[in-house]
């Protein structure tokens, strides 16, 4: 045990003097977490709100056929109407996102209660915000249509309310956790797991392939220190750095939420999404066996490499091992699998972290994830120790 801490202490000293580790372990998580999670979310809501209330420009051709409709549109302060013969050109030149083409004799036909030709809404639907604008124009057109209906009813002496026998209202039962979580629960687990891998990466390479490259591995193995203890000390150093990365990432996330409260559910009464301290601690607990497993895996794999560069080549594919299960969890909405699914390595961790951020994590599932990933970590550890006893791995030339 003592040797393990001696090795750990030396590796920590060595790694903390290395600028690369500091980037991966401290600055990366602290800066990137808020940047990648809160910024896009904030931008998206802001953009959405902007499209909801901003003045939009509508290009109209054939306006002369519908003076009443034109007056109705112009009376809306959030709509700017441009009359033009060539609406398509305006759209293509991106002068406007939505265009209307009004058929001939539109209002004349309406007045005679004849079915007029179609009003066509033109838009390039590959544009990001076009759907919001289109919806607003359509709502306006529907309102105008209702006005026409009301007029016709009035002429016939019929009460308009006959056409709307009842109204509907909305009430959102989702908790703020679920509302904010819907988006964040997809992003955060991947980041937490990714930091588990990336945080300890440089240290893992440094204490294995790095020792080979500097030719220090052989002197180390020539001492009377037991190899299991030496590997354990190295693994402990890797875990320390990756846990530090995860902790700092989580902490910076908490701080970011405090500074920029995340308001979600803009239409049905905004609520503020936060991550509680308790959730944060459970996230760390769930991340512990992941860090252990990645640490062992990184050491076992990097030990095989002859140089720092070669080790980096081996580690890159490991990142896909993290990202792919995270993608899978993201792509299946409302995915609520059975208990055994939580035992799948990494995937299960992803699920439980998602549940934690949603506030729906079950104790049993949490237990399954902890127990199973502890088992995988143990397998990784055995693998790493075994690698450390193989001459052809240690002194590969």
């Amino acid at each position: 045990m003592k040797i393990m801490f001696i090795v750990w202490f030396k590796e920590m000293l060595d790694t903390l003097r290395d600028r690369r580790t500091l980037w991966a372990m401290v600055l990366g998580p602290v800066l990137i977490m808020p940047l990648f999670i809160i910024l896009p979310q904030k931008l998206m809501t802001d953009q959405f709100e902007k499209q909801e209330s901003a003045v939009i420009t509508v290009a109209v051709s054939g306006g002369e056929h519908a003076p009443g409709l034109m007056a109705f549109l112009r009376s809306d302060p959030t709509i700017k109407v441009i009359e033009s013969e060539d609406v398509e050109l305006l759209l293509r030149e991106e002068k406007t996102l939505v265009g209307l083409s009004i058929p001939e004799n539109f209002e004349a036909d309406l007045a005679q209660e004849k079915q007029p030709g179609q009003i066509v809404i033109l838009s390039d639907q590959s544009k990001m915000t076009v759907s919001v604008q289109m919806a607003r124009v359509e709502t306006l057109l529907m309102a105008y249509a209702q006005g026409v209906v009301a007029q016709r009813m009035a002429v016939r002496g019929v009460d308009v309310t006959l056409l709307a026998p009842f109204e509907t209202g909305h009430e959102n039962l989702a908790t703020p956790q679920q509302m904010g979580g819907a988006f964040l629960a997809m992003m955060l687990p991947m980041f937490v797991i990714l930091w588990g891998l990336v945080g300890g990466m440089y240290t893992a390479i440094d204490v294995t392939a790095g020792e080979k490259e500097r030719l220090t591995l052989e002197p180390l193995l020539m001492t009377s220190a037991g190899r299991v203890q030496v590997v354990s000390g190295k693994l402990l150093a890797v875990i320390t750095t990756s846990l530090a990365a995860i902790t700092l990432a989580t902490a910076s996330m908490l701080v970011a939420f405090m500074i920029v409260p995340l308001e979600v559910g803009a239409t049905d009464g905004a609520v503020t999404y936060t991550v509680s301290m308790q959730t944060a601690l459970l996230v760390l607990l769930a991340a512990l066996p992941i860090a252990l497993m990645f640490g062992a895996l990184e050491i076992a794999v990097c030990l095989f490499a002859r140089s720092f560069k070669e080790a980096q080549n081996y580690i890159v594919p490991l990142q896909f091992v993290v990202i792919i299960p995270a993608m899978a969890v993201m792509l299946i909405p409302d995915f609520s699998p059975g208990l055994p699914v939580y035992a799948i390595p990494i995937f299960g961790s992803n699920l439980i972290l998602r549940d934690l951020f949603l506030g729906t994590a079950g104790g049993l599932e949490f237990g399954v994830v902890l127990a199973s990933s502890a088992l995988y970590a143990a397998i990784g550890l055995v693998f790493a120790v075994w690698q450390f006893h193989r001459e052809q791995v240690l002194f590969r030339t």
Binding site: I6, D14, R17, L215, P219, T223, S224
Partner: protein, 245 residues
């Protein structure tokens, strides 16, 4: 004391060491002399327990190489051919780390570190990081690392290779000093002159086998040659060309 008995090491089909037997006694300097690629480093690495022999056995200070490798490791101090250092640690931190790995207690370790820093004349740079050190400075740190636990047996792989004249002298003085202290010193070299000057005994290794062993004068007598150089040419053949300094 090192007793090597028919030690062999094969890497796949390459027989790096075919069969090596020799003896290195306490209070003597034993040279493992041979051309490049003869199997010197492989032999030393087996004795340092980092490579597992394919066959044969060796006993170091009474401990069997295969049976009690951890006891062998505690008994020996090794200066590898390519002494690697941790660039971000200081010379003192190197000595401290390795001393702790050998299980030394803190008081005697600090005392030993002070001793070695003065013995190896490292005082000026003991607390500087090793990365920018010159070859000679790095070698001293590596030597200090090998000596930290005060081993009775020293394995030195080409200890003077690539060093300047003063550093070479320093190393040779140290080797004599270890001998006078009664330690067993085994070092490898491909330089004839160095072997003749330093060694009480020489084991000549060629193509993975010991071709002759004994005191320099014995070797001359065995081969009937007037100089050690001629004795080598006879034993090793054309490969001896590269063994001149």
């Amino acid at each position: 004391m090192i007793e090597v008995d028919n030690l062999a090491k094969h890497f796949g089909t390459v027989h790096a060491v075919k069969s090596v037997s020799f003896e290195a006694r306490d209070g003597e300097v034993t040279g493992l002399l041979g051309p490049n690629g003869a199997g010197k480093t492989t032999t030393l690495r087996m004795l340092a327990t980092v490579l597992r022999p394919t066959s044969g056995r060796a006993v170091v200070d009474g401990h069997d190489l295969l049976g009690a490798p951890e006891k062998v490791r505690a008994a020996i101090g090794v200066l590898p051919e390519n002494w690697g250092l941790y660039g971000r640690l200081t010379a003192r931190e190197h000595l401290r780390y390795f001393g702790r790995l050998y299980g030394m207690d803190e008081t005697s370790l600090e005392q030993r570190i002070t001793e070695l820093i003065s013995l190896l004349e490292m005082g000026e740079y003991a607390d500087r990081r090793c990365d920018p050190f010159s070859k000679g400075m790095k070698q001293k740190v590596a030597l200090g690392r090998a000596l930290i636990h005060n081993p009775n047996t020293m394995l030195l792989d080409e200890p003077t290779a690539g060093l300047d004249v003063m550093s070479v002298r320093g190393i040779r003085d140290l080797i004599r000093r270890f001998r006078d202290e009664g330690r067993c010193v085994l070092f490898s070299t491909h330089i004839l002159d160095e072997a003749e000057r330093l060694c009480d005994r020489i084991a000549i290794i060629h193509r993975g086998q010991i071709v002759a062993a004994g005191a320099p004068q014995e070797l001359r007598r065995q081969t009937g040659q007037a100089t050690l150089e001629e004795a080598f040419v006879q034993l090793v053949g054309v490969d001896a060309e590269e063994m001149k300094p």
